[in-house]
């Protein structure tokens, strides 16, 4: 059964975004409030971005963009395949790079970077080779684990730290710029939206409901998390590399002194799930370009090329420039809005032409 349920798709996407959330808060802002407003606006934009995916799904009987492009012409399918393959390569590159960089620089420097890349990619390849429903089920379990961990950390930090609600201020040199930056950051960090395009055809349920559920819960999750971290850590939240990890470090209970090790475990799990989903979709795209391509090989290539690029950048100690570079937000918009619309236009044009020929 290769069908994915609404909740499972929701879990896949939310796990991906939870990884982004736990990794870092973009620290280009003067204060967290700007970022929270940015998240709200970006979610509104994402609602608009989800519309083409849903409309195309309904209008063209549940085809992903590459298959839909194939309805128009072989060339268009190849072009769409190449575009989305590269999108997923970039996605995998960012996930792998961010994961290795933050693991190495903040959490634990015990393991060689190459070994971390190999092990995390191997686990993600294993997951990526599974059916969509398996990725969905795994994500569901991991999401529950993440929720449990978050509740535990928040509950444990309340007991030790002083809550400072004055951290929610809007003192900023250029608030408009700050908010627009936040919107762009959030759009890039929510590249998980692209999963919608490729998992919707395998969906058992309503695409509207799953999109609404994801965007709604994502908004609440991000706002609450940023809010809690801000209350706990103040402006330090914005300067700390891994604010969620910092909060976990502050958390304590009579049984456990610090929660940052647990944070790392949950973060690793979310990274694998996110990368696994990326590789799964990437293999679908490669199939659109090379219809006879072996799936296992496609998944491995989808992991290996971005990982190699990430390692190259990491070994040059230049990852931070990539990690905090948010110019890739246009990719989310292009992949979710422009390319699907162009493909749909081509297909509609062809349909009309065929209808004219039949009419003549």
């Amino acid at each position: 059964m290769n069908k994915i349920s609404q909740l499972q798709l929701f879990a896949v996407m939310l796990c991906g975004h939870a990884f982004s959330l736990m990794t870092f808060f973009p620290y280009t802002f003067d204060n967290p409030t700007e970022y929270m407003i940015g998240v709200l606006i970006s979610t509104a934009i994402e609602v608009l971005l989800a519309v083409p995916a849903v409309i195309i799904y309904k209008r063209f009987s549940g085809l992903d963009p590459c298959s839909l492009a194939g309805e128009s012409s072989k060339g268009l399918r190849t072009a769409a395949g190449i575009f989305y393959t590269l999108t997923f390569f970039y996605f995998a590159y960012r996930v792998t790079g961010n994961f290795v960089y933050f693991l190495d620089s903040v959490l634990s420097g015990y393991f060689p970077r190459a070994l971390v890349v190999v092990s995390v990619c191997a686990a993600a390849v294993y997951l990526g080779l599974m059916k969509a429903s398996v990725i969905g089920k795994t994500s569901g379990i991991m999401l529950a684990l993440f929720a449990l961990f978050t509740v535990l950390v928040i509950a444990s930090s309340f007991s030790k730290t002083e809550s400072d609600f004055l951290s929610f201020h809007l003192a900023s040199e250029n608030i408009t710029h700050g908010i627009s930056e936040a919107v762009r950051c959030e759009l890039l960090r929510n590249l998980d939206m692209v999963f919608l395009l490729f998992f919707l055809p395998k969906l058992r349920g309503s695409p509207v409901r799953v999109s609404a559920l994801y965007l709604g819960v994502k908004l609440v999750m991000v706002e609450l998390s940023v809010g809690f971290v801000t209350v706990m850590l103040g402006d330090f939240a914005m300067t700390s590399k891994l604010p969620f990890s910092s909060m976990a470090s502050y958390s304590t209970s009579s049984m456990i002194e610090r929660f940052d090790a647990a944070f790392m475990a949950v973060w690793v799990i979310l990274a694998i799930v996110r990368l696994g989903a990326v590789l799964h979709c990437s293999a679908d795209c490669i199939k659109a370009v090379f219809p006879k391509a072996d799936r296992t090989l496609s998944v491995i290539i989808s992991a290996a090329i971005p990982a190699a690029a990430a390692v190259h950048k990491l070994t040059a100690y230049d990852w931070e420039s990539t990690a905090y570079d948010m110019s890739g937000w246009l990719l989310t918009v292009t992949a979710m809005l422009f390319v699907p619309l162009v493909i749909a236009a081509f297909v509609l044009l062809r349909e009309r032409r065929e209808a004219d020929v039949r009419g003549a």
Binding site: M1, F111, V120, T138, G140, E257, R258, A261, M264, V268
Partner: protein, 487 residues
């Protein structure tokens, strides 16, 4: 069409039968003349009840001889058609069929002048009586367990489930062993495709013998090669089998095996016992969570301990950290080596306790657990806290016996992962394991059901035990969790 190689000559028939059965030593042939017709009763030593053969067959035949018979009627025709010697009586026309009946504990009568034999069911082989369940003991439920005889096992199930919907089909499997296999299911609840699939696998089975449940599992369990767990559960409890049958599962009994296979099964079922359904729901829920915790401890506790102690000591509170540090300082080997050593030693002890006679088996735990453990700590080879960790792990592993095999291997993998890469390694292992379990989807039933995919209603029975009032309203059914059915 059965070939007819039994001849009119009794002598030729017997010679042919002996030859067909490779002159096997336990062939027992009793010859006599009844009403002037030479007749022979053939049976296998130890397979038929000598007492029943004498009382139910030979004595009436002798009396028949004394009373005389109408000359127009052949004695074998009379026995086959008119005499009620045994409940199970069939005509056989070939040596192959005769041999099949003889191997199943029948006695076969042959007579001069008739080219068929009469098989009479007189099974009387030695069998183990129904005894208490040793691998799945319960406190407040039935104490009966399956035996090695398939027909006794069928009766044990039928006695508890007197429904016309319960169908039992007897099939044969094993090219040489020709083992009786009983397929049991509720006609109104078991999915047809599962029944068809099992029947097909049994008919296509090319194994010479079928001596264990494990021999059949790979042919029915699709994820047998790819997963550490198995979606085909095994039980020796007739009451549990009845409960599963009622849910719509298909069960398989194999002659000579005191266990039944349940197809398909769920991961969560490894944590429930029949006792749960005798206790009050609050206690059942509590004890079920104890089992979940035990599963976690038995798989991950040593791995987590190694990971935390070696890579993330900041997690421990200061007092605990100091105690652990002092204890570990005194030992000569790395922590991970110590844990692996102790866990392997534990597996050796467990295996020794299992293989040794019961009277000696308990001595192993005394020698291993108390004497060697104590000496290892005193001599400074292993630390005392580690021994506590291993002890807790070992005890926890006894709580979930159905999955002790995968747990033993997973535990070692987790120790190695934790020892090599700390919580990072454990997280990677955990994710891969979860994906592996989630991928099990035999017969369109997710092994992780009802947690993944999430089924809120069925999940209740996983988190706590439903009350009987809830069962009254809606019994748990396989169709509720089958993904194909729910589409």
């Amino acid at each position: 069409m059965e070939k007819n190689d039994i001849t009119l000559s009794l002598q030729e028939t017997l010679s042919g039968l002996i030859k067909a059965m490779s002159g096997t030593a336990e062939l027992n042939i009793t010859k006599g003349v009844i009403c002037g017709t030479p007749l022979a009763a053939v049976s296998l030593e130890g397979m038929v009840s000598a007492e029943q053969l004498g009382e139910l067959v030979l004595r009436p035949l002798s009396e028949l001889s004394a009373a005389g018979l109408d000359a127009k009627i052949h004695v074998l025709d009379h026995i086959t058609e008119n005499m009620l010697l045994t409940a199970d009586r069939q005509k056989v026309f070939s040596f192959d069929t005769a041999a099949e009946f003889l191997f199943s504990g029948f006695a076969v009568l042959f007579a001069q002048g008739r080219c068929y034999g009469c098989a009479l069911g007189l099974q009387g082989f030695e069998k183990r009586p129904v005894s208490s369940a040793e691998s799945e003991p319960t406190l407040m439920c039935s104490q009966e367990s399956f035996t090695e005889t398939v027909r006794v096992n069928m009766a044990l199930v039928r006695r508890r489930l007197k429904s016309k919907k319960l169908k039992m089909e007897l099939l044969k499997a094993g090219e040489r062993s020709d083992t009786d296999v009983c397929l049991m299911y509720m006609t109104d609840r078991a999915p047809g495709d599962i029944i068809v699939r099992i029947k097909r696998e049994l008919s296509e089975l090319e194994l010479d013998t079928l001596l264990t449940v494990g021999a059949l599992q790979p042919f029915i369990d699709d994820s047998y090669q790819s997963s550490v767990f198995t979606a085909v559960a095994v039980s020796e409890r007739p009451d549990l089998i009845c409960s599963r049958l009622n849910e719509g599962r298909v069960c398989v009994l194999i002659d000579g095996v005191p266990f039944a296979m349940i197809v398909p099964s769920l991961f969560a079922e490894n944590f429930s016992t029949m006792d749960d359904y005798s206790s009050k729901p609050f206690y059942s829920a509590f004890i079920r969570w104890v089992r979940y915790l035990s599963f976690f401890l038995s798989v991950a506790f040593p791995g987590v301990y190694v990971a935390l102690a070696d890579f993330h000591p900041e997690v421990f509170t200061l007092k605990l950290l100091l105690n652990l540090s002092v204890a570990e300082e005194a030992t000569p080997y790395p922590l991970v080596a110590e844990v692996i050593m102790l866990m392997i030693f534990f597996e050796i002890m467990r295996e020794a306790g299992l293989r040794l006679p019961k009277s000696v088996g308990s001595a192993v735990s005394i020698v291993g657990g108390l004497i060697i453990g104590d000496a290892a700590v005193k001599s400074g080879i292993v630390s005392a806290p580690l021994l506590i960790v291993v002890g807790i792990t070992a005890t926890a592993s006894f709580v979930t016996p159905p999955i002790e095999q995968p747990v033993a291997v997973l535990r070692l993998i987790f120790i190695i992962a934790g020892g090599c890469a700390g919580l990072y390694g454990l997280a990677v292992c955990f994710t891969v394991l979860t994906a592996n379990i989630c991928a099990m989807n035999d017969f369109s039933v997710s092994y992780m059901s009802p947690a993944a995919p999430l089924d809120a209603s069925a999940l209740k029975d996983m988190i706590y035990r439903k009350t009987y009032r809830e069962y009254e309203k809606a019994h748990t059914k396989l169709s509720d969790i089958r993904e194909g059915d729910n589409e």
